[in-house]
Amino acid sequence: MLAARASAARSASRIVRSFATVVDTAGVKVAAVDNGESTSAVTFLVKAGSRYENKPGVAHALQNFAFKSTNKRSALGTVRESELYGGVLSASLSREHLALTAEFLRGDETFFVDVISSFLTGAKFTRHELHEYVSPVCAAESAALASNPAGRAIEAAHALAFRNGLGSPLFAAEESEVTIESIKEYASSVFTKGNIAVLGTGISQEALSHLVEKSLASLASTGSPSASSTSYFGGETRVDSHGGPQTVFIGFGTTGAPTPELAVLAAHLSPQPSVKWSQGSSQLAAAIPTTASVQTVLLPYSDASLFGLLIQGQTSEDVKTAGTAAVAALKQAGSISGEEFTKAVAKAKFAAASASEARSGLVASLGPKVLGGASASVESVVSSFDNVSSSAFSSATSSLFKSKPTYVAVGDIKSLPYADELGL
């Protein structure tokens, strides 16, 4: 009976994995998969993150302009009409991509694709909407990020590690004044056919292609924002901050396409337990004090990735103890035993596979591939871990230390340790 159930699970997984052929629909890449969900979701992924912006904060303002008034309907009309259909609209910004997502009941795709595409083709970008709705939200989001020590540390780490491009801040600075003209200019430079990928779940490829072809016909076909290739710099900075845990971020950057070795390293080091209310089995978990926490952070981008350890604690001493242990664990990671390596690969593989089960994770892992025109399948995300060898892993780990690490301390900078005090 067990065997029968296992084989059923295997065949079910085969159905799930038959993902998404990428079709070039009049210049726009469209990928869709239908697993028989009762709701559909469509994401328009635009290469319009903060990396490509020409003025600081423009990408953030553009994100918050999503679903405001267009030539077809007003902001209020968009909200009320999608409420009547029972759908959810959302926009999210990363350093590379702006994702406009609509989730809705099956059969309503005509309306929701039209809502998003009318923003891409005919947004009005009125000055009063910028002042009345967009700027306050931008300011609130920036303030929320600034009051979060972990967020500040990672922002500062990006600026140190990559300087321009990927290093430019994700959110607009609170005092920055973004003008409506610069937003319009940025929007017209990024909303072009070659710059957009459409990902659908719970919707058939033909239906989505047909809708996208019809609704995005008026977009300019060529042109995309220029971005210089990323190089890694590294460095050290200390940011004074009050209220909130003492925070230290130790980061290492690599250039080139993200590799699965780093994900394995993150899985190996992560002290997070697999069972709630227990201690993780990694070597690091035993060494950190109970009032401190260590998280592994892996941020992959199209031509670089930032891997790091985020260490937080109530006092600077906690952070110092945990940080020293974390750096020691990282240095020893290159020479782990075969058993531990297998465990780390399995953990990383599970994390990747389970993230791509959810819609947001699916878009995050497959979106860049679809934009690049490569074939996108969940299977390729998971199977990339099969080829990770122990030697490649240890060479990837040791090469991290060859360049200067990125070190950020946020909190009480008088007592927080310096990079060399942690053994870097």
């Binding site: 007003s74 209020l76 009309g77 009320r80 009547l84 000055r127 009063h128 002042h131 009345e132």
Partner: protein
């Protein structure tokens, strides 16, 4: 109903050449008689601003427009204190008397009306 945003026959008058020719002199005479241009004000400065929609429209003026509006008010109140019109070279000329606020008020009214429509909409199940 009354006031600058009330019912107006001006579009109908402007559409007809004959009517325009007959009425224009009276209109000009009336504007000059009302004397706001001699105080250095524009017609849209006279809009009743103690209303929510006009307040919202005022918020949509550019910084420059807002500054100029405040300047005209200060100059006019000084003229009022002195019980005298401004010197003739400072009077607002007819071509300067543009409706800078009205488009914004109309936009706000349109938005308010749209909100009323959505609030009172009746929905039918799709067949």
């Amino acid at each position: 109903m009354f006031g600058p945003l009330g019912i107006s026959l001006a579009p109908q008058v402007r559409a007809s050449k004959t009517l325009t020719r007959w009425i224009k002199p009276f209109a000009n005479w009336y504007v000059n008689l009302s004397g706001y241009r001699k105080m250095g004000l524009r017609y849209d400065d006279l809009l009743v601003e103690e209303r929510d929609d006009v307040q919202r429209a005022l918020g949509r003026l550019t910084e420059r427009e807002n500054y100029d509006r405040t300047f005209r008010f200060k100059r006019a109140s000084q003229a009022s204190v002195l019980h005298a019109n401004l010197p003739k070279e400072q009077w607002i000329k007819p071509e300067e008397d543009i409706r800078y606020l009205r488009p914004h008020v109309e936009e706000v009214v349109k938005e308010d009306n749209e909100r009323k429509v959505w609030d009172a909409i009746s929905v039918e199940r799709r067949k």
